[in-house]
């Protein structure tokens, strides 16, 4: 079993018992001390977890859940938290929080889909499309600060602007890009480009399929 899969399993097992802020240091601990140890070391890991958290844990239940996650199908596992663990280690607590939360999967897929979309366009078209979307953000039901950050993302790239965007926000944002494609390339080409971008992203086998953003 690969390190990634095991990390996802531990994450999945712990996710029901700890908040996001507690999870990242615990995962970091597991990676540093227990990732290379045999499976029976899980008990030792749980003892340390209980000690660090200072809470009374149902260790037997937690143990069963961890074993279940490690031995069950990978399709039931949450996505790999590696970027967030890495960010936490770097001391970038804010960013770690930004990529977490209930809509993290949607943001991850959106990121891939938008990159696929941009990669299918002429290079000079991409900034025009980004500017178009940035100039039409007012229709999105989001607060001013978030809109400004989103505008920053659209104009400069990166992923900061995707902070706190829900799945529905992301759908609207994608539709905004689609409208831009219709304006610049016509609706027929827009449909074709969107279709190809979706198909390209689909091949990446992300946890949340790109169709969910349509």
């Amino acid at each position: 079993m690969s390190l990634t899969t095991r990390r996802r399993a531990i994450y999945t097992g712990l996710a029901g018992h700890f908040g996001e802020d507690e999870l990242l240091p615990l995962l970091s601990l597991w990676e540093a001390k227990y990732a290379d140890k045999p499976p029976f070391a899980l008990n030792e890991f749980l003892a340390e977890v209980a000690q660090r958290s200072g809470r009374k844990l149902e260790r037997a239940r937690l143990y069963r859940e961890l074993v279940g996650a490690l031995t069950g199908p990978t399709s039931n596992l949450l996505p790999d938290p590696a970027p967030r663990v890495h960010a936490w280690r770097q001391g970038e607590g804010l960013e770690a929080e930004e990529v977490s939360g209930p809509d993290a999967l949607a943001r991850q897929t959106f990121d891939a889909l938008s990159q696929a979309l941009f990669s299918l366009l002429d290079p000079d078209m991409v900034p025009r499309l980004r500017r178009f979307a940035a100039g039409n953000l007012n229709g999105m039901q989001i607060d001013t600060e978030l809109r400004l950050r989103l505008r920053g993302w659209l104009e400069k790239g990166g992923s900061l602007g995707l902070t706190a965007l829900s799945l529905e926000h992301l759908r609207v944002l994608l539709n905004l890009l689609y409208i831009g494609l219709c304006e610049y390339l016509g609706p027929v080409t827009a449909d074709q480009v969107l279709t190809r971008a979706v198909q390209k992203t689909e091949r990446m086998n992300l946890q949340l399929p790109p169709q969910k953003l349509l």
Binding site: R171, Y178, I179, C182, E183, D191, T195, Q211
Partner: protein
Amino acid sequence: MKIYLLSLCALFFPSLAHAATDVDLNSAWVVLASALVFFMQAGFALLESGMSRAKNAVNVMMKNYMDGCVGGIVFWLVGFGLMFGANATGWYGMSHFAPHQGEPWDFTFLLFQMMFAATAATIASGAMAERTRYAAYLVGAVVISGFIYPIFGSWVWSGIYGGQGWLAKMGFIDFAGSTVVHSIGAWCALAGIMVLGPRLGRFASDGTPRAIPGHNLALVTLGGFILWLGWFGFNAGSTLAINQSIGLIALNTHLAAACGAVGAMLALRTTSSPVLLSTTVNGSLGGLVGITAGCATMLPGFAMLTGLVAGVVVVLGMRLLDRLRLDDVVGAIPVHGLAGVWGTLAAGLFFTGDLFSWARVSVQLIGAGMAFVWAFPLALALYFILAKTIGLRTSTQDEQRGLDYAEHAEIGYPEFNQSVTFDGAELTRRA
């Protein structure tokens, strides 16, 4: 023995004992014509869905299907009374609402007129395709077939149950409805597309029109043929009787349609444009609309000229709409509106026995103009109110996904549609 056999026949086949009367035959003819006019709904459905993108095919079909349903019901309820009820003033009828008692002929006539009302209502469907909310569209169809169309119709055709429309009194000729049915429908469609605005990306920022090809030209062609067939019932059935005039009417109808296609082809070639199938079909439909007013009162040569010019009018009209940045998905306004106006004028110009009479043409002009003055502002107000209340245009997200998904949770081509613009897994959940 012979007497015995004849008695048996009279006993078991009483209908054979007497010959069919004129009323029987006329009823049979008008019912048959009604069925042909009803079949035009199928033609419209095929033509319009073929000219739309695959992701909107079901929506277009549904609108045409329901036009026949809600249009028929509301016409029975109020439209027929407004159009053919006792009309003392010449402006609208005031009886025969929701008719459920009457002579057999009354029901025959009602059936035929009901089909006409559905045709008038359905013209807007194609023009407004691909971005109109289904519920709002249906409300529009109800108002058109229950109020806008019958009121204008009463001005021209209301002499059946007493009284006479004011346009008819002036001598306005519109035998089967170039103006009454087709132009009225087209002006409503024009109002609809003005309120709606064009589809996403239909025009570039500099105004250059972008073609959005339909998804199935075979459907367009089949729809054109079916409409052509139905038009024989539309025009020849308007005699409301079996008589010798039917032959000329049907011949004129056919010739005008054929010349309409030729006219469109010539118009396309004179500007070195490619001869498109969809435009050619529209040309023949323009010819059919054009001849509808004068099919009973002009000779075949003039019918051909009427159709030929109508085909040219359709092509030029489509270009005009493009220049005005008006997005008419199927070309309904040039076909039904502009060709309808031309056909109405042609009925005056080529009136057998009174050719090129300015007096007659001027009455025709008044009639065609009044159709616009009546229908367009009303429809504009109607669609504007719909836009401000229940909403007329779909969201851009729904336009991206296609109205089949957004409005009906059902797609026309579940196995063959190549575009991925919506989440297919959500279809079953929506249903």
